[in-house]
């Protein structure tokens, strides 16, 4: 059940109006993510790359200063992008533009919202600004997407106002293994809660530190109550199609495109692969002659402090 306060317990009068406005606000935020489903969102670092992504059929672009592979290579603190670059990208394309802010950095989010970006990614790929608190995303007019590696984390982010979730994977590695791990973990937990009795759900909510109401809704729906994309290590059409088979609603591709030999061709191929993920004949044809894939990193050899997926609380 969803809790509702008994009438006139306190002297407030506009509760229903506030609730109705909040409901419409969330319909619009989550609705944009619904429109992005079955599509590919591509990391871009300038207007030229954004145009390549749009021509390839990306359903949105993610503006950031350096792709995750370069953030890994360069080290140092990774922050939100220069507003000038974000404005140039918004100017260059007609598809939605997203931008990343550091975990907990609500002022970066205020700045990005002011630039009229369409979605904000509160992202573990950037260096966290707060090691306890995520941004209170419900206060913003612009919608947020957040990373998650399991069900508890996803529902905590939704509770804070995220209107879209993505698996974390391990960005900038070109290795899909962590994205698969997180998708399997999330979908496995959802199947588990679907079989639970009411009293078990109360216990499980405590165990995974998830809000009970959202957990209950997830069990009823048999999926997350918002759109859920794959991210973090997708480098080939086959990787993208596999994530769709695992129950993801669409795919983010970061370094995988612009760190490869022929970005335009690879980008087109991944777009086709997400639409036709169920058709091996199409996958075989688009996988042909794509040139060099990004080299990739073996995640087992990645030092603990370089694992982005651990960031987020």
């Amino acid at each position: 059940m969803t809790f509702s306060t008994p009438s006139n317990l306190v002297p407030e009068t506009n509760g229903a109006a506030v609730a109705a406005a909040a409901k419409n606000d969330f319909i619009v935020k989550a609705g944009l993510a619904q429109n992005l489903k079955g599509g590919v969102i591509m990391d871009v670092v300038n207007a030229e790359q954004a145009r390549i992504a749009e021509e390839a059929g990306a359903c949105a672009v993610m503006a950031l200063e350096r792709v995750p592979a370069d953030i890994r290579k360069d080290g140092g603190v990774a922050r939100m992008s220069d507003p000038k670059m974000i404005k140039e990208i918004i100017e260059a394309v007609t598809i939605p533009v997203m931008a990343k802010v550091r975990i907990g950095h609500f002022v970066e989010a205020q700045i990005i919202q002011h630039l009229n970006v369409d979605y904000i990614d509160e992202s573990e790929v950037l260096t966290p600004a707060d090691e306890q608190h995520h941004i209170d995303k419900s206060k913003f007019k612009v919608p947020f997407v957040c990373g998650a590696k399991n069900l508890g984390e996803a529902l905590r982010r939704i509770n804070e106002g995220a209107a879209m979730i993505r698996t974390k994977g391990e960005a900038g590695t070109g290795n899909v293994v962590e994205a698969v791990r997180h998708a399997r973990q999330l979908m496995g937990e959802i199947r588990k809660v679907q079989a639970m009795a009411e009293e078990e759900l109360y216990v499980y909510a405590k165990e995974i530190q998830a809000p009970y109401n959202l957990l209950k809704e997830t069990a009823r729906l048999g999926r997350l109550p918002v759109v859920n994309f794959a991210a973090g290590g997708v480098a080939t059409p086959a990787d993208a199609a596999m994530m769709m088979h695992l129950g993801m609603d669409g795919v983010f591709v970061g370094s995988g495109i612009f760190k490869s030999g022929d970005p335009a061709k690879r980008a087109r191929a991944i777009v086709q692969a997400v639409t036709h993920y169920n058709d091996p004949a199409v996958l075989a044809s688009v996988s042909e002659d794509l040139g060099e894939a990004m080299v990739g990193i073996n995640c087992d050899l990645l030092p603990e402090e370089q694992k982005f997926a651990k960031r987020g609380w």
Binding site: N24, N35, K37, P96, D118, V271
Partner: protein, 219 residues
């Protein structure tokens, strides 16, 4: 009165909110035999398909994927043949003959609807909104329809000889009024997303329209 035929309705599933249409159609069990995802030319050319819906999503993406998947021409043939089609948001853009604010180099359209649309007419996502619409053609029409406008297009101009206005939106007192739903023969188009609401009246209206078109078109 004879039992009404249950319909098989295809929903273009290249990208976007196609499963939302399918889930809503599946609730209308008395009228819908099956709601089917359409990704290929072969699926679209199935002669038992009674009607088609083009969902919301990114029209640029849908057009590019449609061309590369060899389904753009079959979609044009569907519309030209006078078969029923309904486009919501991105779907409406694809059905229009002219679209403004498209990507650099322009955008391929299916066409058929004698209107000019303007993409992202209200601005970025922060300008997306929900507004009550008065829609006289709907069942139970004294109740407003909740129009969900997400980076939505508007219809800038229509050919009044051929196209009839189904709904307009007014964001508030003193604000300009825009055409956001039209019909032209076999084509229905809405700038908003009935599939993102629990209100099935627009889908029921479309089903009635499909039956009317079927009864007036020689087999």
């Amino acid at each position: 009165m004879a039992e009404k035929k249950k319909l098989r309705i295809g929903v273009l599933a290249l990208q976007g909110a196609f499963s939302e249409h399918i889930h809503l159609l599946n609730k209308l069990k008395a009228d819908v035999a099956e709601a089917i995802q359409i990704r290929t030319k072969e699926q679209l050319q199935d002669p038992s398909l009674d009607a088609l819906i083009l969902p919301g999503g990114e029209s640029t993406t849908m057009a590019l994927v449609a061309e590369r998947s060899g389904i753009m021409e079959p979609l044009r043939e569907w519309v030209k043949a006078g078969k029923p089609v309904w486009g919501t948001c991105a779907g409406m853009i694809l059905l229009s003959n002219t679209a403004h604010r498209t990507k650099k180099g322009g955008q391929t359209l299916i066409g058929g609807l004698d209107v000019t649309v303007k993409r992202n007419a209200f601005g970025a996502q922060v300008d997306s909104f929900v507004a009550d619409l008065s829609v006289p053609v709907l069942p139970d029409n004294e109740r407003p329809f909740s129009g969900v406008f997400i980076r939505a297009p508007i219809i800038e101009s229509i050919d009044p000889e051929k196209v009839s206005v189904v709904a307009r939106v007014n964001k508030g007192i003193g604000e300009e009024e825009y055409v956001v739903a039209v019909r032209q023969g076999n084509i229905l188009a809405t700038a908003f997303h009935p599939e993102l609401t629990d209100d099935d009246r627009f889908h029921r209206y479309y089903i009635d329209l499909v039956r009317t078109i079927a009864s007036t078109t020689p087999a």
